[in-house]
């Protein structure tokens, strides 16, 4: 019987939850890195016992931790995220140019084939890669050449929060940056181009169709269809069928098309999930009802999934990296809230249960299925 391991990053530490494949009873670890913000903790597909965690505080800055024994012990690895050369400047809130300054790591994405290769998305927005298990990091500086001088931070900072490695083409990488947009490399990260055509930001940008500047919140792709990408934008749920050449809106009948995470079913490439949030200023579910919305048609037609989720007085948020999908035959879904709950579904979202209720605010959720 398989084991399921859920990795949860929170404002005050990381937690590891384990269950068998029934996903009915869960063991919850003691806090790892107690007191530290864990923006992301993730496992490595090529070596499930190899975990990485992005650990930070306002006091002591950024650390990267690595475990080679599934979290039983941890080793700090490299935390030198120096930009390549003179990174120059980007737009600041007041319209002036501002120097690029490293603040923290938002997202860690290991290679699907090599446990020592891992990518890090950071604030101020840049992409780094390590080929030695996190000991040293090199910036893929070509990304900043994709009009980086025009990027500017949103309210949450100018963060590179999403990295998608195409499992079918090692040269193709997608990234997304808050208040900058989506970007694609076709040469393993050496050069990049913005892929934002079709996005519209009428209320956020003076030019609603600008090449860069759109506030992309997250991206999701099914590995069997790497040309199809789904996007939760600041407002609007979007889809491209041609690897980002052109996007079209698939918000359809959602009660709000604002939100943070987006996910795709493990076995059904046209089944997509979002968790609507009321608005950009009211970061909680519409009507106080926590609802996951599922589309089985690749967008536009959405159904509310509510069984087991609070349907009154719920005012939590679900952050962009806090939604994960497992690979079991009966697809499992997991998301964490700023209220400290982690909800799980073992039936593709039809029903939900909270597998832990009272953690610190959840920053990230990942899941591993172990043989």
């Amino acid at each position: 019987m398989s084991t399921v391991r859920v990795l949860v990053g929170t404002r005050k530490g990381a937690f590891i939850l384990t269950s068998d494949e029934k996903r009915a009873k869960w063991e919850i670890s003691e806090p790892h890195f107690a007191g530290w913000e864990i923006f992301h903790i993730t496992g490595t597909p090529a070596d499930p016992n190899r975990l990485y965690a992005a650990q930070s505080t306002g006091w002591f800055g950024q650390l990267i931790q690595r475990s080679d024994d599934a979290g039983k012990s941890w080793q700090p690895v490299g935390n030198d995220f120096s930009y390549t050369g003179d990174p120059g400047t980007h737009q600041w809130y007041d319209g002036t140019q501002h120097p690029w300054e490293f603040k923290r790591v938002w997202n860690l994405v290991p290679s699907p084939t090599d446990p020592d290769t891992i990518y890090a998305g950071v604030e101020d927005a840049a992409l780094f890669r390590s080929s030695n298990g996190g000991q040293t990091w090199q910036e893929l500086a070509g990304l900043r050449e994709a009009k980086g001088h025009l990027w500017q931070p949103g309210a949450g900072g100018m963060c590179l929060h999403t990295i998608i490695l195409d499992p079918n083409d090692a040269n193709r990488i997608y990234t997304a940056i808050s208040a900058a947009g989506a970007f694609r490399s076709m040469d393993g990260g050496a050069t990049w181009q913005p892929i934002n055509r079709g996005l519209k930001s009428e209320w956020e940008l003076p030019d609603a169709d600008a090449d860069v500047g759109h506030c992309v919140h997250s991206l999701a792709m099914h590995p069997a269809r790497p040309d199809v990408i789904f996007m939760q934008k600041h407002w609007d749920v979007m889809r491209t069928d041609n690897a980002g050449e052109l996007w079209h809106e698939v918000s359809g009948n959602l009660p709000s098309d604002f939100g943070f995470p987006i996910a795709v079913h493990a076995h059904e490439p046209d089944t997509v999930y979002v968790i609507p949030i009321k608005s950009d200023s009211e970061h909680y579910p519409p009507e106080g009802k926590l609802r996951v919305y599922r589309s089985r048609t690749g967008g536009n037609e959405w159904e509310a999934l509510t069984q087991g989720l609070p349907q009154s007085d719920c005012y939590v948020n679900i952050l962009r990296n806090a939604f994960a999908v497992d690979s079991l035959d009966s697809c499992g879904l997991y998301f964490g809230t700023t209220g400290g709950q982690v909800y799980a579904s073992a039936d593709s979202g039809d029903s939900w249960t909270s597998i832990v209720r009272d953690l610190p605010a959840v920053m990230s959720v990942e899941v591993q299925v172990l043989p």
């Binding site: 404002r11 007191g35 530290w36 505080t57 306002g58 006091w59 002591f60 800055g61 950024q62 650390l63 700090p76 935390n79 030198d80 120096s82 490293f102 605010a361």
Partner: protein, 99 residues
């Protein structure tokens, strides 16, 4: 020998349970103590002062002899009581509200 007390999170990070004792050549300054500390515990690099600028991180404080030395220049000699090991050089996480 210089006696340094780390804040709890950095003691956990380094696996140190008590004080850190460092041999530091005179003149003993904030910079020379931090250089010695990072040489002994490389994982502390970047946690007390910024890697690029070498400036003290804004929410880290340096106390000794009942004084806040955080705003002294990094190469200013430290008090004799620190140099002789009579007094601890305290590295402190600043009081900060919020989450």
């Amino acid at each position: 020998m210089i006696r340094v007390k780390l804040p709890v999170h950095l003691r956990t990070l380094t696996g140190v349970s008590g004080e850190v004792v460092l041999a530091v050549e005179e003149p003993v300054t904030q910079r020379s103590i931090l250089d010695a500390l990072e040489a002994k515990y490389p994982t502390l690099t970047g946690t007390i002062r910024d890697r690029a600028t070498q400036q003290r991180r804004s929410l880290v404080r340096f106390f000794a002899c009942g004084q806040d030395l955080s705003h002294e220049l990094p190469d200013t000699p430290l008090p004799d009581a620190v140099v002789t090991g009579v007094e601890l050089f305290l590295i402190v996480g600043a009081m900060a509200g919020g989450a």
